[in-house]
Amino acid sequence: MSSPATTHPAPLLEVAQISKQFPGIKALSQVSLSLNHGEVLAVIGENGAGKSTLMKILAGVQPPDSGKLLIEGAEVSISDVEAALENGIALIHQELNLCENLDIAANIFLGREPASWNVINQQQTYLESQKLLKQVGLNLPPQTLVGDLTVGQQQMVEIAKALSINARILIMDEPTSSLSLHESEALFAVIRELKARGVSVIYISHRLGEVNDLADRVVVLRDGENAGDLDRASISHERMVQLMVGRNVSQFFPHTPHEPGQVVLEVKQLRTPAYPSHFINFSIRQNEIVGISGLVGAGRTELLQVLFGIDSPLSGSISVAGQEVQINSPRDAIRAGLALVPEDRKLQGLVLEMAVRENMSLASLTRDRKSLGRINFNQERNISEEMIAVMKIKTPSDSQIVQFLSGGNQQKVVLGKWLAMNPRVLLLDEPTRGVDIGAKEEIYTLMNQLASQGMAVLFVSSDLEEIRGISDRVLVMHEGQMTGELSRDEFSEEAIMQLATGQTLSHSQT
C-alpha cells in the first residue's frame, strides 16, 4: 500500500492505514500517505473528506482508532500534543487558536516557555518573538495583545508560533483562508524558505491555484479514503478537481450574463462604525450579481453587517426599491427584504445543536406563526423539505442535527433559511469559504438562478477567481472606502489589486 515514489529508503513520515470513526461518521478509513524530507505535500479534498481529522491525528490532538504512524521507518505513538512536538510535528489549525488575553510573545511560546525553576524568562520570549515576527513580515511589537489584532495578523502569529517550534514537519490546515493576497505571498515565501532548510510541509487548501504553485506532490482524499496521488509533473487544476469530486467538472464558474432591472438597493453617504471617516455610496439592481473585493480588513464584512442591521450606521441612507428604510436590527433588514449569509456559518449562521428543519425555519417562524405565537409546524416542514429538494442538501432527513452535515451542506442550510424568506436582496459574506469544489459549484449555480429570477445578489469574497468568475459587476474596497467599480470586461486581477491596495487605476477612471 505505502510505496513512496522517491528514492529515500525511509520517508520522514509514513501514515499507514489510519481509520477514525466519529459518532455517525466514518471520518477516515484506511488512509495512508508518506512525506519525504524537504517536501511540500498538499492534501486536498472536498469538505468533510477527512483532511483536518488526519492532521489532528498527526498532531496528537485526536487518537486514531487503528493504523500506524512511522517516522523515518520507526513506529511512533503520538498520544498527545506533547508527543507530536517531541517528534517534531507542529500543526497550524484550520481555526485560529490563540489566547486573546495574552500578548503575541506569550502566544508564540505558549506551552514551551523558556523558564528556569518554572519562572518564565520574559525577555527571551520578546527577543525571539521579534525575530519570528520579522520572518513572517508582521511589523508589530511582541508585547501587543493578540485580541487587538486583525484576523489576518492573528493568522500570521499562528504561523510565527509554528515556526518557533522548529518542527521537522509543519502542517498547515487552510492557512490562507483568512489572509490577504499580500499576506499570502509572505507565507509562501516562508514555506519556500523552510523547504530549502529541509523542513517538510503538509499543506491543506481549497485554493487549487496555491496548490499548483507550491506543492511537490498532492494527495487527494475523498469520503475519508485515499482517492489518488499526483506528482509534481501531473499536478493540474483539472486532475485535482477530477480526483476530488470523482468526475469531470466542466464549467466551473457558471456565469450567465443578466439583464439588470430596477435599482433595488441604494446606499448613500453611509458611514460604518469601523471606518467612521469614510462615506460609502453604491447601488444594485434586480437580476444582478455584484461582488465586493478587497483585502482582509477592508471593511466588507462591516458593510454587510451595517446593511443587515447587526451594527448601526453612523449616518447615511439606505433605500430598498426606491424607498428609504431605517435599519437598526436584523429584523428591520429582513422586513425591508434583505437577507445575510454571514461570514462564519458555525458562529453566526447555524445553531449547530438543532435539526436541519429548525435551522431552516429560524428566520421565517415569526412570519408563519399561528395565533398565540404558536409555531406553524406544517409550514415549517414544508419549507424544509422544499429547500432540501431544491438545493440538493445531502442529509438523511430534515431532523438531522446540523452539526453532522458537511460544510457545504451546512452552508446550503443557511442559504435555505433565507430563501424561505424570499428576499429582494441577498447578501453573502464569503459564501464559499471552506466549502469544497462540488458544493461551491452548486452554490454558484444557485446564485445565478436567483439572480435570473430577479433577486439582487451582493457578495463579498476574498477569492479573486470567484469574484471574477461569477460577478456581473465588481466593487472594490480599501480601508473602509469604495475605491472603485469594475464592469465585467474590466475584471483583470491587476485592476482589482490596484484598487484593493488603494491605488487609482492606471488605465482608466471609474
Binding site: K26, V351, L352, M354, L362, L365, R374, I375
Partner: protein, 329 residues
C-alpha cells in the same frame, strides 16, 4: 426524553425503597405533603429552567421569594386591599426580572454577577422595610391561605386529597411546556441558549427573548414567595428562601437542563424537583439523622450527573462500535 428516563427511574427507586422500608411513606397524608412541597419548589424550578435554557443563571430566586413573601403580608397588614396587594407584588416581581434582563442584555453584564447582586439586595431591602420582623397573615385571610394549604377531594380515590398548590404548579407547568415546545418564543429561547449570535443573525430579537426568560423566572419566584408565605404563615425576612435558588437550579439540572443552555424540558424539571423533595422526605422516613440530609441530597445529585455522563459516553462508544461493525460487515 432519555435524560428524563434516568431521573424518573431514580425517583421511582427512591420511592420504592422508602415505601418498602416504611409504609407511612405511602400514606395519603405523607403523599399530600410531599406533593405540596414538590409543587412549591417545582414552580420556582420551572422559572429558573427558562433562564438556564436561555444560557443564563439566576441566583436571586431565594431573595425574590423573601421580598415578595414578606411584602404581601406587609402590604395586607398596612391595610392594602387584597387584589391591589397582589397586583403590587406581581408588578414588583416582574420589574425585578426586567431589571435583570436589561442589565444582562443591554449592558452585557454577566448573569451570575447581576443576580448575585440581586441576591444581596432584595433580601436586604425586605429586611430593611420590615425591620427584620416576621411577617404573617395571622388568622385573617384564611381564604387566601387556601391557595397554599387547601386540598381538593378527588372523585375516585378515597382518602387522598389533592393539594391546591399542585393544581397551580400543574397549570404553570402546562403553560410553560406549551411556551417552550409549541411557540416561537420557546424555539427562540433554545436557539439563543445554543448560539446567541446565530439567533441574532436570523432576525430574532434576542434581547427581548432573554429578558422575557428572566421576567418569567422572577415572576414564578414571586408566586413561589407568595405560596411559601401563605403556607407557613410566618415569613422571617432574614431566613426565608435562603439557598432556594440552589435547590431550584439543582432540580432543573437533575431534570435535564444543561447549564450551558439550549436544553431542557419542563417535565424533567418537575421530576427533578420531586426527586429533591422525596429525598428529604425519605431521609426522615428511613430514620437517617437530619444532619446528613444535605450530604445525601448532594451525593444523589452528583451520582445523577456522573452516571448521566457515563451513560452518554457508553452509548456513544457502543454506537461507534456498532457502526464500525456495519461498515466492515
Amino acid at each position: 426524553m432519555k435524560k428524563i428516563l434516568g431521573i424518573l427511574i431514580l425517583l421511582i427507586v427512591v420511592c420504592g425503597v422508602t415505601a418498602i422500608s416504611n409504609e407511612n411513606f405511602v400514606s395519603a397524608y405523607n403523599i399530600q405533603n410531599v406533593t405540596r412541597l414538590t409543587s412549591l419548589f417545582g414552580i420556582i424550578s420551572i422559572g429558573v429552567a427558562f433562564v438556564i435554557i436561555s444560557g443564563g443563571i439566576d441566583l436571586s430566586i431565594g431573595s425574590v421569594i423573601c421580598l415578595i413573601g414578606t411584602m404581601l403580608p406587609y402590604l395586607l397588614a398596612k391595610g392594602v386591599p387584597v387584589p391591589l396587594a397582589f397586583l403590587l407584588v406581581g408588578v414588583l416581581s416582574i420589574c425585578i426580572g426586567l431589571a435583570h434582563g436589561l442589565l444582562i442584555t443591554k449592558l452585557k453584564l454577566q448573569p451570575f454577577i447581576v443576580t448575585l447582586c440581586g441576591l444581596l439586595i432584595y433580601r436586604g431591602v425586605a429586611r430593611g422595610i420590615t425591620e427584620d420582623q416576621t411577617q404573617g397573615f395571622g388568622t385573617a385571610h384564611a381564604g387566601l391561605r387556601y391557595l397554599a394549604t387547601g386540598k381538593i377531594d378527588l372523585p375516585f380515590i378515597e382518602g387522598f386529597k389533592l393539594p391546591v398548590p399542585f393544581l397551580i404548579m400543574l397549570g404553570l407547568a402546562l403553560l410553560a411546556a406549551f411556551l417552550l415546545n409549541k411557540t416561537i418564543f420557546g424555539r427562540y429561547l433554545k436557539a439563543i441558549g445554543n448560539n446567541e449570535a446565530a439567533a441574532r443573525y436570523s432576525g430574532i430579537k434576542t434581547d427581548k427573548v432573554v429578558i422575557t426568560a428572566y421576567v418569567i423566572c422572577s415572576f414564578l419566584a414571586g408566586i413561589g414567595g407568595i405560596l411559601f408565605g401563605l403556607d407557613i404563615n410566618s415569613v422571617q425576612p432574614e431566613g426565608i428562601g435562603n439557598f432556594y435558588e440552589l435547590y431550584a437550579i439543582a432540580a432543573a439540572v437533575l431534570g435535564g437542563c444543561s447549564i450551558r443552555g439550549g436544553e431542557g424540558t419542563i417535565l424533567g424539571v418537575v421530576i427533578g424537583a420531586a426527586l429533591m423533595r422525596v429525598l428529604r422526605n425519605s431521609i426522615t422516613m428511613l430514620g437517617i439523622p437530619s444532619q446528613l440530609e444535605f450530604a445525601i441530597i448532594g451525593a444523589v445529585i452528583l451520582v445523577g450527573v456522573v452516571s448521566d455522563e457515563l451513560v452518554k459516553r457508553y452509548a456513544q462508544k457502543r454506537r461507534a462500535i456498532q457502526q464500525a461493525r456495519q461498515t466492515s460487515g
